[in-house]
């Protein structure tokens, strides 16, 4: 650390390097921290969370009971112990609440005054954060599994919506209407993601085990379909041609630079694709338990030197390195299946929500300040660690001797 600092001061290193090294270190020390709590508002499972990118302060969460909560993540108290309080809540008592499970929530990328949520009650609502009233409601024929707003779009304000219908809907926020459909899938569309690099590029994952990449300016068909065998016919049986997985594909995530695309499927696999060519990079992540029939939300770290993937794996969150596929750690804390996790790029924190209704904050453990040897001994001899919580002490009763 000190070496990095001095190198940066003297200008030997790229300033980014220190940042990367430090954030990598922090990611590696992620832990379930008693200092950070998130209030329990959801009585049921949590399906989706989203952290806004402008301030990195507010987090949206959508629950299986239709409730949407906005949390304040920023700790202004100055103490280590902090509980994330809900700022606003669309509770069950609200008139506009989703009737069924909320599947996806997303902030409007440029302003926290607006967010979009979609639900199994076949609607997608655009909310005004101030009044917590829907400014616009889109209705569909089937359950809405997923929607996404392009994080970088300047020239359009399209929301891609994946529903039970195999056709992907494109809704325009400007006109408030469904302006377009993209046809090509044969089963329900479980996940849609805009590329963070090119504003017209859209990736969609469907239950027909295919992943298609579209250019929305060219509506006649997809650009290409990801093929797990990279077009080698010999390995694929006839019906497995152009499939990304051998089961439903329910998770989709671009890396932060948009060069790679990650997909997860119910065949318990995770695959990394080159998003420009659609080539399978054949990184082996091993078995990633995945039995969700709905969308799985996972995320990729940002600003670390090897990038990390955080992916729900049963009741824990698995952390892999992106390009080598090495399993770093399993974050165990949930008591039921984890459905979503979101990485906070500014503080290298991870938030995860699961079916047990817990929203857990995984916070880097701050390294204890090193104390010189002799003083440590003195201290221990004198007070016997007075700061330690009594619950952490051993209590061997004397009758055992």
């Amino acid at each position: 650390m000190l070496g990095f600092l001095s190198a940066r001061q003297t200008g030997l290193d790229d300033p980014l390097r220190l940042r990367r090294a430090e954030s990598t270190r922090r990611v590696l020390s992620l832990k379930l921290n008693p200092d950070r709590d998130v209030d329990r508002i959801h009585g049921n499972g949590i399906n989706a969370i989203d952290i806004e990118t402008i301030e990195g302060r507010y987090m949206l969460s959508g629950g299986a009971d239709g409730v949407i909560v906005i949390y304040d993540l920023e700790n202004h108290s100055g103490k280590q112990q902090y509980t994330c309080r809900p700022v606003r809540t669309v509770g069950r008592s609200s008139r506009h609440v989703h009737r069924f499970s909320v599947e996806t929530v997303q902030w409007y990328p440029y302003d926290t005054g607006m967010f979009v949520s979609s639900s199994f009650d076949k609607t997608m609502k655009v909310w005004d954060t101030e009044t917590l009233k829907p400014a616009e409601v889109f209705e569909f024929e089937g359950n809405v599994y997923s929607h996404h707003l392009s994080p970088i779009a300047r020239k359009h304000s399209l929301i891609a919506v994946g529903t039970k219908n195999p056709k992907i809907q494109l809704c325009d926020l400007k006109s408030g209407s469904r302006i377009h459909v993209l046809q090509g899938h044969r089963a329900e569309v479980l996940s849609v993601r805009w590329s963070p690099r090119y504003e017209y590029i859209l990736a969609t994952a469907s239950a027909d085990s295919k992943v298609k990449v579209w250019d929305v300016r060219r509506a006649s068909g997809s650009l290409f379909t990801l093929d797990q065998h990279n077009g080698e016919k010999s390995k694929a049986s006839s019906e497995a041609v152009n499939t990304a997985h051998n089961g439903r594909v329910n998770g989709l995530c671009f890396t932060s630079d948009g060069l790679y695309l990650l997909t997860t499927g119910t065949d318990d696999r995770m695959r990394l694709w080159n998003s420009a060519t659609g080539e399978n990079t054949l990184v082996n992540y091993g078995k990633v338990c995945n039995e969700s029939r709905k969308r799985l939300q996972f995320s990729v770290s940002h600003g670390c030197s090897p990038e990390f993937v955080f992916v729900p794996c049963g009741s824990s969150v698995a952390v892999y390195t992106l390009h080598t596929g090495e399993l770093i750690t399993m974050l165990r804390g949930h008591y039921n299946n984890v459905d979503c996790c979101e990485f906070h790029p500014d503080y290298q924190e991870l938030y995860s929500g699961g079916k047990d209704g817990n929203l857990l904050a995984w916070v880097p453990v701050v390294r204890n300040p090193d104390v010189e040897e002799d003083s440590k001994d003195e201290k221990r001899g004198a007070a016997g660690l007075p700061a330690v919580n009594p619950a952490f002490q051993d209590t061997w009763s004397s009758d055992e001797d």
Partner: protein, 628 residues
């Protein structure tokens, strides 16, 4: 940590968990804690072994392992961190949070484990919840998601409670349906039951007094118990004691029909001592027939019924099994003992009430007697009538005592001797007895079987000595008489009993049958030796029980001398734990294992299909078999 310590810890954990007790062994637990206190490595080791035991598929092991866990949890911080890190799995194994991993049997222990685990988690939460975040999370998970009510004594989840209620409701519904069905059934068959009851009652009314009349012990009251004949009819039903002693008041006139029948019946009944149910039945049938007659007669001659109607008859010893011919008519019987067999095959007709007898007359005229004879004949044709039953009875019962006159005078001494002489069936030899047969033993032998062409030399007749002898001699085979075997094998069996086989000469298991004493040992010395020899041959000498026992006593090692007798019984690994397979080891399951054995099923299927195929092969040219 040294190896012996580690081993000791593993051993302690295993002993504690496989004890099968509800409480932990205090001494061992103390030792375990003492060892754990030494270092965190020990705790690591204990933690892992306890978790292994917790995942065993036996609730008693889990319960004990859980008790160890809770003991250590309150002691060691290190143990707490280890356990809390893996708290999901811990809850799955003890509180049954995952419905796909139910707690293992036995059920009561599992329920206890669950309740205990929930209580313990709550107490942990209150004391350590603030410090261990995952413990807190787990507690809230139980509370909010699994909806465990920590106050509930049963510590059940909402789902379980609902299931329980559902089950109760269902059972109630079933019970109610059953009650309704039973009530409906009852209603439906009420009429039938009533009818049956009345039938029964009237039947008993009819039966009971007559029944008691013939019981020797109730003879005294029989008179009083008779509702169907009035008191002034005493002479008709004299006390049975007079029956038995033989003092028989005889009645003249046609009433004697009933009385005589009754008397003979009484005699017969006494003879058979009323043992036979069939006999009883016959008696009752007879009575049925007689009673109305009695009534009728009593009605007819109530006024003139008096003592002078009876005349004293000489006393008799015992009874009269056979009524003399001249008295037969008086007794209401067919004069000759032989009847046509057609009477037996006749359909059972409703008992025909005889018409009221004609006016009493002191002297029986020939015409009236002949008429009565005819009626008797008719009666005997009827199987329900007294005469017919009596005849049957007589045929059935072996005749005892001296042959009476009814047997006829032809049965004298020489005839009896003739009956003992063996009778030879009639044969050819008897036919030609004492004659010389001209062509006996000659047979015509044709050399050629051809019909038209005959060879030149004709030498047709051949004398056969064999045939000749046959026609003159007679074989009488004398196989002797069959005598049933009365002796037993009586060789000692393994269970201490004696062999009960009854073979004539040789028991298939114990060899020739020899005389034996009460314990089954042969009486003769050479037999005893032979038996000893045989036993030794069956068993190699080193397995001789006594020798082995001697060796065992000398060396102190178990060579399995006792195994010899009892068969090999596998020792259970943990004898204290309740056996989970016990319940599944029922007669039904064992049979099921045999019957539904895969190879058995295959064999049966093979046989069946083979039979089927054979049918196909045989009849395949017929269209209806060829089609399927």
């Amino acid at each position: 940590m040294e190896l012996p310590q580690r081993e000791r810890l593993s051993q302690l954990v295993e002993e504690l968990t496989t004890s099968g007790q509800q409480q932990l062994h205090q001494e061992k637990m103390k030792e375990l804690k003492k060892l754990c206190r030494l270092s965190t490595d020990c705790i690591d080791h204990v933690y892992h072994s306890v978790m292994t035991q917790l995942s065993q598929e036996h609730a008693e092991i889990r319960l004990s392992a859980f008790q160890i866990t809770s003991e250590l949890f309150s002691r060691s911080h290190h143990f707490r961190t280890l356990l809390v890190d893996n708290f999901q799995e811990f809850l799955e194994l003890t509180v049954e949070t995952d419905s796909e991993q139910p707690l293992p049997p036995p059920k009561e222990v599992a329920r206890k484990l669950r309740a205990l685990a929930i209580q313990t988690v709550q107490s942990w939460q209150t004391s350590y919840g603030s410090a261990y975040k995952k413990l807190d999370l787990g507690y809230h998970f139980l509370k909010r998601v699994k909806k465990v009510d920590f106050q509930d004594a049963e510590a059940r989840t909402v789902a379980e409670r609902r299931r329980e209620e559902e089950r109760q409701r269902k059972m109630e519904r079933i019970y109610r349906a059953r009650v309704e069905a039973a009530a409906k059934d009852m209603e439906e068959s009420y009429g039938d039951m009533e009818a049956a009851l009345t039938e029964m009652e009237s039947c008993m009314k009819l039966l009971f007094p007559e029944f008691s009349l013939f019981l020797p012990d109730s003879s005294g009251q029989s008179e009083e118990e008779q509702p169907c004949c009035s008191r002034n009819q005493n002479p008709i039903f004299p006390p049975s004691s007079s029956f038995l002693t033989g003092r028989r008041p005889q009645r003249k006139g046609n009433q004697s029909v009933g009385v005589g029948g009754l008397l003979s019946l009484a005699a017969v009944c006494q003879h058979a001592e009323l043992h036979h149910t069939a006999l009883l039945h016959i008696c009752l049938t007879q009575l049925f027939f007689l009673l109305p007659q009695m009534k009728a007669t009593s009605d007819g001659e109530e006024d003139e019924d008096d003592e002078e109607e009876f005349e004293e008859v000489p006393e008799k010893e015992g009874y009269e099994p056979h009524i003399p011919e001249h008295l037969r008519a008086e007794y209401g019987l067919d004069p000759s003992p032989s009847t046509s067999a057609a009477a037996l095959s006749q359909q059972k007709a409703p008992p025909r009430r005889p018409p009221a007898p004609p006016a009493p007359s002191s002297s029986s005229s020939s015409s009236s007697s002949s008429r009565r004879m005819k009626r008797m004949m008719e009666e005997e044709q009827d199987p329900t009538s007294a005469a017919a039953t009596l005849r049957l009875l007589r045929e059935k019962l072996p005749l005892q005592g001296e042959p009476s006159g009814s047997d006829g005078p032809g049965q004298s001494g020489p005839e009896q001797q003739a009956a003992e002489v063996p009778v030879v069936p009639f044969g050819l030899d008897l036919y030609y007895w004492g004659q010389e047969q001209p062509n006996a033993g000659k047979i015509i032998k044709s050399a050629s079987q051809h019909q038209f062409w005959v060879p030149a030399e004709v030498e047709e007749e051949v004398e056969s000595q064999e045939l000749l002898a046959q026609s003159r001699s007679r074989y009488i085979s004398f196989p002797g008489k069959f005598v049933p075997v009365s002796h037993f094998c009586r060789a000692p069996l393994g269970n201490g009993a004696l062999c009960q086989r009854q073979d004539r000469l040789k028991c298939p298991f114990h060899g020739p049958i020899v005389p034996r004493d009460s314990e089954g040992r042969p009486c003769r010395e050479e037999d005893r030796q032979r038996e000893e020899q045989r036993r030794k041959e069956q068993q190699p000498d080193w397995r001789d029980e006594e020798l082995m026992r001697d060796i065992e006593a000398a060396t102190g090692e178990d060579l399995g001398s006792s195994r010899n007798r009892r068969g090999k019984k596998k020792k259970k690994k943990f004898p204290n734990l309740s056996d989970l397979k016990q319940s599944s080891n029922t007669a039904r399951s064992r049979l099921q294992r045999k019957v539904f054995n895969k190879s058995t099923m295959r064999r049966v299927a093979d046989v069946l299909s083979k039979a089927d195929r054979r049918k196909h092969d045989k009849f395949s040219n017929q269209f209806n078999y060829a089609l399927n």
